[in-house]
Symmetry: C2
Subunit: 309 residues, 2 copies
């Protein structure tokens, strides 16, 4: 089975890509381990993260970028990270809507992934999923997420360039989001730039970027009206400029290495948990939980006892 999948991935067959991602999402550790050693390279695919508050127009920007890259005959994979439930394993709504535009295009693969799976969450799985789509040889890989939280930071680790999409109305929130945004954005997009207060947000952002560390990359600001295809070409140009910067400064390789190490550490933890938790240990833990709160041992003692079993 795994050989079929590997062959399918190499041929960029959607059926097998979807199957491999499902293996990771379902977290069957046996099958997942088979996917651990996919060989990928640094800076081969163009890897873009798109994030920002709900309603900022991230989907429109993703859609327009896909079209532009398709015009150059590049293959594109878009992974939509849904703020999904731990129970229902994620809304598929997002990609169903988008699928329409690219339904007959075999070089576009779109898929929703759950921000929290049955176990462990996206942080661990994102590395596997990245490997799967990179191994499949897409020229461009786009991750789209909502908000600026832990998930987004995990995604940032997985991409080369992070775009933060804002709208003029976002102005009020800039203060609070300041610290988080300065760090993660390589490119800012002010979308719906035809609305009022656009220039005000542009100014606020420009001032904010004065605080950025000049030795590092200074984020660019791009003005767009994505729905009318205004500014998307500039955005694509900025993406190319940032990519050159990553290659020249070796930052791309640094990011690759960070992911490589993270993958090893995650796998070691997962091995530890699989071997550590056996029936007897679970039984002891459960027997404590069944007691009244005040009758339980303290956590330190429970841990020592579990280890000694």
């Amino acid at each position: 089975m795994i050989n079929d999948i590997l062959k399918g991935l190499k041929n960029q067959e959607h059926k097998y890509i979807a199957q491999a991602i499902s293996i990771v999402e379902n977290n069957s550790s046996l099958n997942k381990n088979l996917l651990l050693n996919l060989k990928t390279s640094s800076m081969e695919s163009i890897k873009i993260g798109i994030t920002g508050p709900p309603g900022a127009g991230k989907s429109s920007i993703t859609n327009q970028l896909i079209k532009k890259y398709r015009f150059e005959d590049k293959s594109v994979c878009a992974l939509l990270v849904d703020p999904s439930s731990p129970f229902t394993k994620g809304a598929v709504l997002g990609d169903r809507i988008r699928m329409r535009d690219f339904y007959n295009d075999s070089k576009v693969f779109i898929r929703s992934i759950a921000s929290r799976g049955s176990k462990g969450g996206l942080a661990e799985n994102i590395d596997y999923i990245s490997d799967i789509v990179e191994f499949s040889g897409f020229d461009v890989i786009i991750y789209e997420t909502v908000g600026v939280g832990q998930v987004e930071l995990d995604v940032v680790d997985s991409v080369d360039t992070t775009i933060v999409v804002l709208v003029p109305e976002s102005g009020d929130d800039i203060q609070v989001m300041k610290a988080g945004l300065i760090e993660i954005a390589d490119i800012y997009v002010i979308n719906k730039y035809d609305r009022k207060d656009s220039d005000k947000l542009f100014l606020t952002l420009t001032n904010m970027l004065q605080l950025a560390d000049k030795d590092k990359w200074i984020p660019k600001i791009v003005k767009t009206v994505a729905i009318n295809d205004i500014g998307i070409d500039s955005l694509k140009d900025e993406l190319a400029i940032h990519r050159k910067h990553l290659i020249k400064s070796n930052k791309g390789l640094d990011k690759y290495n960070d992911r490589f190490i993270k993958k090893i550490k995650h796998r070691l933890i997962s091995d530890f948990e699989n071997s550590f938790w056996n029936k007897k240990r679970y039984e002891f833990l459960n027997s404590e939980i069944e007691k009244d709160i005040n009758d339980r041992l303290d956590i330190d003692s429970i841990i020592n006892k579990i280890k000694s079993i």
Copy 2:
């Protein structure tokens, strides 16, 4: 030192609460372990999570709720989870602004916490921080977070009642957020209800809740204009109703037990990592990373080799 802190916590002294939270955030495992065994109970504090998209008015709602609870002479702790950077350890801007209202009130403790610390992130630390503030005996504990991502789901695990704040403009995003929201909200607030399209959002939400599992709690919808103190009393009533439901249905204890187990599991992983990674193992890992990507062993082999050292 730890005895001073424990005593300070019991007396609800801000200085010691801040110090204990810093110990957790700085992740010094030695000191953190001393905080592992704080004895807390189920359903003693009123624990509320407030989340929603940026700009929805979460801060205003938090502020108004604090005022209401203070009016009843309840002590309140508000933890503002900032979408903060892994490098700068979080924006303190949020609470500085808010501090003003309650600056001289010794029964209000407000603090920003970073959504991602130097290691591991909030998921692990949130349990420690919850314990610290619960142990300090606050009558009300409010967590405020931005968005509906992994961080929010971690916070949901730590509170008893989750409020999702929306604004009329959120209507467009409801579809995409559907799955995530249905699961996490115990109470919806439509804030800025004086704006247009408020009734439309109310209708959309009401329809959406038809899909909720009737055997479980059906989330309530509260209309507010927080900035003018409209609807906040109703919100407080709904919080009390949900709390009664949790106590009656034993759900509060279930949540407490889930946190108890999670804490044990996290601690075991942390113990494993601390004992596993030694100098020789790190050296081997680094020697592989220094190689050209194509010359490296595959991850499986690296892991086996590291284990055998």
